[in-house]
């Protein structure tokens, strides 16, 4: 089936909205409560809200970081200081009612049932999620007039995905919940590189997503980087793309109180033919040394601005991300038109072409570091091939 493209918005959410409106790069946005204060969410045009998904971001219910403090239904505020021992009995219903009412009144596309972040593979994961959020939210949704599509938010960790029994327990639980239309799935990978280079993780995520889809559930894949291209094989309903790195890879530390400010990264440009963001510092060498290197830089109005001599490259410039949205959404739209085996063949061809481009760079003497090279593509190809074999798309 065709999938939608959503923008995983952070505090630069206006860039996302502009990109959707001006360049047609998406079908809606996911608004994160940590990044956008409650009043500003309510003031967004109805046209935007109706296609948007609101992410309450209750991952750490005791930490009202950033704009989370402006939401009176955030657990820490609704319960006068979140305490997990009392919360389910005393405050969960109040918080759920407020959060559901907010989502319904603002007419968002779905009502998100939030999740508590739990590291590793806790034995009480399902029980905790049910008591803190799932049961109170389903009750609150049922008490609202009209039909509302409920999405269960889920953060699956690397460890959870790699344990077959744990994964089966999660799938049995999710698919057995009545009144839940789908899953807003966030997969947290432990790796430290900017791209996911773990074939096993990607393969298991593909399988997990497909299992949900085979249960006729909506699946929104949140916090994706360029691996959205690969994950499209699992027939998701929505894939996402974002501005800064913290919207393209889920890291719980960004929701913690003591998260120290990181130094801004160097500016990087998304190069669609490489399926990679490549540091500005390498662009000169690519243009000068790689035959046909200029053609690797996708041509669009943002590229034209950025490649003017007067342009000051900085990671906080909107053109970098608007360029990314134009190019990645173009790739994703083409993939979305295809299904099954044809989709796999197309994605495989894109990955193979990107691998060839990196090989040519290497042969031209351009030695990219591990955050700019194509080392993620081998993992993608392995995961994609393995998944395709399961589906009977290749021998």
């Amino acid at each position: 089936m065709k999938f939608d493209i959503y923008h995983q918005a952070g505090f630069r959410y206006q860039w996302n909205i502009q990109s959707i409106n001006d360049d047609g790069t998406g079908d809606g946005i996911i608004i994160g409560a940590r990044s956008v204060e409650k009043d500003k969410v309510e003031q967004l045009p109805l046209k935007v809200r109706k296609k948007a998904i609101f992410d309450p971001q209750f991952f750490l219910p005791a930490v009202p970081k950033g704009q989370l403090a402006t939401y009176d239904f955030f657990p820490h505020l609704a319960s006068d200081g979140f305490s997990s021992s009392d919360y389910a009995d005393e405050s969960a219903g109040i918080s759920a009612s407020g959060c559901v009412a907010f989502q319904v009144q603002n007419r968002f596309r779905h009502v998100v049932i939030p999740t508590r972040y739990m590291a590793g593979m806790p034995g009480d994961f399902i029980k905790t999620q049910n008591s803190l959020f799932v049961v109170p939210f389903l009750e609150a949704i049922a008490s609202q007039d009209g039909d509302h599509s409920a999405l269960l938010q889920l953060v699956v960790t690397d460890n959870m995905l790699k344990d077959d029994e744990y994964t089966a327990d999660l799938l049995n639980w999710i698919t057995g919940l009545e009144g839940v239309a789908g899953v807003y799935l966030i997969a947290e990978h432990n790796g430290s590189s900017k791209q996911i280079k773990d074939a096993d993780f990607l393969y298991r995520l593909l399988r997990f997503t497909l299992a949900l889809r085979q249960n006729d559930m909506v699946v929104v894949l949140g916090y994706l980087n360029t691996e959205a291209v690969l994950l499209s094989l699992s027939d998701p309903s929505v894939v996402t793309m974002g501005v800064y790195e913290n919207t393209r890879a889920f890291k719980i530390r960004t929701f913690e109180d003591n998260d120290t400010k990181q130094r801004g990264p160097s500016p990087r440009l998304y190069m669609a033919r490489c399926l990679q963001w490549i540091d500005r510092n390498y662009h000169g060498a690519i243009e000068r040394r790689l035959p046909g290197g200029k053609e690797l830089f996708d041509q669009n109005k943002y590229q034209a601005i950025m490649f003017r001599p007067s342009f000051k490259w900085h990671f906080s410039k909107p053109e970098l991300y608007k360029h990314h949205f134009v190019e990645l959404s173009r790739q994703l739209r083409q993939i979305s038109e295809l299904e099954g085996r044809a989709r796999f063949k197309h994605v495989k061809a894109i990955i193979e072409a990107a691998m060839k481009n990196f090989k040519k760079m290497d042969e031209s003497g351009i030695v990219l570091d591990q955050d700019n090279d194509g080392s993620h593509l081998a993992a993608w190809m392995t995961a994609g091939n393995e998944f395709a074999k399961d589906q009977g798309w290749q021998n």
């Binding site: 049995n172 639980w173 999710i174 698919t175 057995g176 299992a211």
Partner: protein, 283 residues
């Protein structure tokens, strides 16, 4: 009235005529009898050992009383007699157990039609968040018009109720040869309507295979027992393929027999829709 019947039973049965013993086992006996007001009925007389045992029986009665369907016998009365006897009176259904007529539905179209009836019948209790947990040919009666009646909700589970079986048993209440893997492993939290789908899958294949059990080691060609084959997901896929049924029937069977609940049908609508696909492919 036969003097061979227990004295306690005779006391109950004196209100009836034309009494015939249908079934006797353990602490329970079932009689067919005629009642002046209710016509032909089934009188079940038994004894309970614990309060939980009584509660389970009452629960079955309550579930049946809440149903008004051709797929279930109508409950007429329930009473208890000191010190520990219970009496259930139900509508008598002129029928034979499916276990005695498994070959009657071996044509794929007939097996599918029968399965559809069973799904429609079970969906009535599933909607009430009740899981039968003991779907097997002995618990399905076939009326002369071919419509099934589902009986014996004795171990049915009300998903919203507290469990009556707070035991440390390795296996949950079930008939092992027809139980889903999650029942056999006593994973209570995972037992929902999809556990019944597993039993339906076995029954459906028994119909197609003229009574053979799909997990029987003799049919599968490996395994120590039906239960061990259920737990290791070994059923007669190859035999079914050799029957050259449409691929949709093989997919339906495979999905009903999914080893994990998430691998079965999430909703009754999707299961019924899969049956429709099979029926279309057949026609």
């Amino acid at each position: 009235m036969s003097p061979a019947w227990p004295t306690a039973h005779q006391k109950v049965l004196r209100n009836y005529t034309a009494v015939i013993l249908l079934k006797q086992g353990g602490q329970k006996a079932a009689y067919r009898a005629h009642h002046a007001d209710h016509g032909n009925v089934v009188v079940k007389i038994g004894s309970y050992a614990t309060i939980n045992g009584l509660k389970r029986i009452q629960r079955e009665v309550e579930v049946l009383r809440g149903l008004n369907s051709k797929y279930y016998p109508r409950n007429i009365a329930f009473s208890t007699e000191p010190p520990n006897q219970f009496v259930i009176v139900e509508e008598y259904v002129d029928s034979v157990p499916l276990s005695a007529s498994l070959t009657q539905f071996s044509a794929p179209a007939e097996a599918l039609a029968f399965l559809r009836h069973l799904v429609q019948g079970l969906s009535i209790i599933w909607e009430k968040r009740v899981v039968h947990r003991d779907i097997k040919p002995d618990n399905i009666l076939v009326a002369p018009d071919g419509v099934p009646k589902i009986i014996d909700l004795g171990i049915a589970r009300l998903l919203d109720d507290e469990s009556l079986t707070r035991t440390l048993n390795a296996r949950g209440p079930c008939t092992p040869n027809y139980a889903s893997p999650e029942q056999l492993k006593n994973r209570k939290a995972q037992i929902d309507q999809r556990a019944d789908q597993f039993g339906l899958g076995i029954v459906f294949l028994q119909l197609l295979l003229s009574g053979a059990h799909p997990f029987d080691p003799a049919i599968v060609g490996s395994g120590d027992s039906i239960v061990s084959n259920i737990l290791s997901d070994k059923w007669c896929r190859a035999k079914l393929q050799r029957c050259s049924h449409p691929s949709s029937i093989q997919s339906l069977a495979a999905k009903l027999l999914g080893p994990e609940p998430f691998q079965r049908y999430r909703t009754t609508a999707s299961l019924l829709s899969a049956i429709t696909v099979c029926e279309r492919e057949l026609s």
